[in-house]
Every structure is written in structure tokens, then in C-alpha cells.
Symmetry: C2
Subunit: 252 residues, 2 copies
């Protein structure tokens, strides 16, 4: 397949209620756009959620890492490109480029996905699906010049914050949705932190689903260099997700 | 002007992270779409925020009432029509129709807006602006078969909930954004409430701006008939907004 055809390109715009107090798109909304574009791209190739659901399979986002030189401003049009970098037996790597209207790269993102059987919740073999044709979509030539999702560890013994999962947190599957985790993590930081320097890199690793009414506690390590590692635990024990937020800095 | 040209029509889609656990668009996201469409429509006619800002004026949403027979489902395409019903000296009434892809009405909305001078925060005379040409856009012929925003009163003496305005709440003007108020109000109700019957009508009246760090307390009256009146007060005193939420019922 032509390498060009392996890349999906989608138009977006930074809506007024989707920008923060600095007038720039929030990381949560950007994440939403990326996941939508991943959905469009997969659907157009026969691997969309709707098709998979018919066979009782679904995609599960495992990791997302976004690195931005610049966030789109209010009303700014931008483009999201997405492509599949690798397919393994249990995971696939999907990359993104976020481009300004003039084609200038604003940033990049990497994501890791698994496919599960919705009944057994067990992972599916991606190379076994549709006769292994998913590998035809792998695009090796397009660069994604940002680091891979890293291993995040949090030492903090006490939560800085606790909240309960509510109506607005819950998606069609009855789980707290991936974007709301990001928003709750962004809300840990005071406005001053965002005013000094915007987020340069945001990483999140989804570990376990949480549900309506779950108590979500947030543990934070200051990694130095304007970077923070965050762990969200549900009901005082199990890890729901981990994240790393770098405000122009570098987290060790 | 041709009556047809006075109505703006905009295409929308119910994105996966914008639907709730029932798979239907949330009222907050619908509100966001309506306000975006209001913005497009005003801009196309020379009354957009960007143009107004140059002269130090801006639109302020005063009231919004939405009544839905049916909310769009996940991935469903729908259309928002909007038009100006009335222009008075200090307020203008803007209506909306929400249509399914086949043109069937899913619901309607009414909104009331004022224009203020951004420096003095005083209201502007709408009939004075651009030589009064705003009245040329008034469309009297298109029906909006739902009740006008009503007067909301809340008696409750104790708040049921309190929260602090955070990063994700704050818009480019430094205020808690209109949609986040809606979301915080929706989050007052348990999932069961939404499962029994979806929201039929949602009304909100914006009274005073709130800011980062403000403590927002929510007071709720059960009006009977599956309807609730809500008042949000900031820092224990001033009213920020009032709302009425009707789950298929009717609030007296």
C-alpha cells in the first residue's frame, strides 16, 4: 500500500469552550481530538469500534504521550495526522502529528492500544484478526520525533486530592472516560503553574477501569525540573492510571 | 432580507467522549454546540466576539433553556439551526432548533444575550450598534415551540455540594465558563436519575461571574414531578447562576 494512504489527516478547530485561560487548547481536549481521529482512521480501514463490537471486540487505550511545542489558539484551525507505527501480537503503536494550518508541526503524540474481547475482557491476538491484514496499514516511514511513553513511578504516600466519579465522568461503557482522567489530573495544578509555562509533555498510562461512585485519590511526586508524576488510585487501593506532566521541564 | 437567510444551519456530530453512559449526548456538550453555533451565526453577520472585541464589546449569555424530545446518540450527525427572534435595547433573544440528519426536530432551545462594554462592564444599547442594523437579522417567522426561560427560585438553606473552581473551569476571560456550570449541575444527580428518564428540559440563568479558586456551593429544591431547581452561590453569598433540571417532568 502507498505509504501516503496509510496516514489519515483530519481537520480540527480550537473551539472557545475548549481553550483554557491562556486562550490555548487544553491537553484534555487535544487528547479527545487525537482519540477521535484514531477512531476515524481505524473505522475507515475496517478496524473501527463499531465493526469490532459486532464480533465482541473493542479497542482499549493503554498509553498516550503528547509533546507540544505550541498548543492551538482559540479559533485556530489545525490538522491531526495519524498512522500505525507497529503492530505486535497484543499491542499496536499509533502515532500522531498535530499541524498548524500552514503545515508547521505543533507537536506529536504516541499511543499504545490493545484489543480485548468484551465478554472475557481478555486481550485478542492482533495478528490473528481479519487474516492479519492489520499489518498492511503499518507505516514505517513517517517520523514521530518524541520519546516513547515511559515507565511512571509514584512514591508519595498521601493523596493530595480525592474525588468521586460522577455522571460527567462516565462513558457509554460505564467506565470513567480516558479524557476525564486527564482533566482531573490537569486540575491538580494551580493556574499559576500554567501561567509560568505551558505543558510541554503529558503522558498517561491507563491501568484499570474505574466506575461511577468510585473514590479516586491522586498521589503526586514533584520530579524536579517542572515535572510531576501522578498516580490515581481507586477506592484507596488499586491503581487506575499514572501520568507524567512536564511544564516545559524534563521528568527523570 | 430573505427569511431563510436569517437562519444559520450548522452540522454537528455526537463524539464518543461527548456522550454519557446511556450513549446520548450530554446536555453540557449540546450547550457547547449551541453556543458555538450562536458564535458562528453572529460572526457571519458582523456581530461576532472577535469584531466586537475590537470595539471593547462582548456578548454575555444571560439565559439558556433547552428542551429535547431526544438527544443525539453516539456518532449520530445532527444539525443546529439558529436565528435571532427579538432585539431589545439591552437584550436579544436567540433561538435554536436541533434536528436529526433526516430533518426531524429533536428539540429546541432559547437563549437571551446582553452585550457589555468590556472596560466598564456596563450593558451596551443593541439598537445603537452598527447603526441599528442588528434588527435586520430578526426572524419572526420561524417557530420555537418551547416555553421561554422562567424565573427560578431556590428555597434550600443548606448546600448539597461544594466545589472549588479549578483550571478546567476557567475560560479565556478568566471566568468559570458557561458550560462548566452546566456540567457541575448535571453532576449533582445520581446515575439512576438519568437511567430512569433523561432530561427533558434544562434551564440556566447566569447571574454573576465566578473566578479561579471561588468556592461554588450548590443548593437544590426538589420541585416534585421529577424537576429540580438549583442555585449556585460563590464564596457562601453571591448567586453565580440558577438552573432548573426537568427529568421528563414539569417544574412548577
Amino acid at each position: 500500500m502507498d505509504e501516503e494512504k496509510k496516514v489519515g489527516t483530519y481537520e480540527c478547530v480550537a473551539e472557545p469552550f475548549h481553550v483554557d485561560f491562556t486562550g490555548r487548547l487544553t491537553m484534555g481536549v487535544l487528547g479527545n481530538h487525537l482519540l477521535n481521529c484514531a477512531g476515524f482512521h481505524a473505522s475507515e480501514r475496517g478496524f473501527g469500534i463499531a465493526t469490532l463490537n459486532e464480533d465482541n471486540y473493542t479497542w482499549v487505550l493503554s498509553r498516550l504521550a503528547v509533546e507540544m511545542d505550541e498548543m492551538p489558539r482559540q479559533y485556530e484551525r489545525f490538522r491531526v495526522q495519524t498512522w500505525v507505527e507497529n503492530v505486535y501480537r497484543l499491542f499496536t503503536d499509533r502515532n500522531f502529528a498535530i499541524l498548524a494550518e500552514d503545515g508547521r508541526p505543533l507537536g506529536y503524540a504516541r499511543s499504545v492500544w490493545a484489543m480485548i474481547n468484551m465478554q472475557t475482557r481478555k486481550p485478542a491476538d492482533l495478528l490473528d484478526l481479519h487474516g492479519g491484514c492489520i499489518v498492511d496499514y503499518v507505516c514505517k516511514d513517517k517520523p514521530c520525533p518524541i520519546g516513547k511513553p515511559s515507565r511512571i513511578r509514584v512514591q508519595a504516600a498521601e493523596p493530595v486530592e480525592s474525588l468521586r466519579a460522577r455522571y460527567s465522568d462516565i462513558d457509554i461503557n460505564g467506565h470513567v472516560n480516558s479524557i476525564r482522567y486527564v482533566e482531573h489530573i490537569l486540575d491538580l495544578f494551580p493556574l499559576e503553574r500554567y501561567r509560568e509555562t505551558p505543558i510541554r509533555r503529558f503522558e498517561v498510562a491507563y491501568v484499570a477501569e474505574s466506575y461511577y461512585g468510585d473514590e479516586l485519590s491522586l498521589y503526586v511526586d514533584d520530579c524536579g525540573g517542572n515535572a510531576y508524576a501522578v498516580e490515581m488510585r481507586k477506592n484507596g487501593k488499586e491503581t487506575a492510571c499514572r501520568a507524567k506532566v512536564e511544564f516545559g521541564g524534563c521528568c527523570k
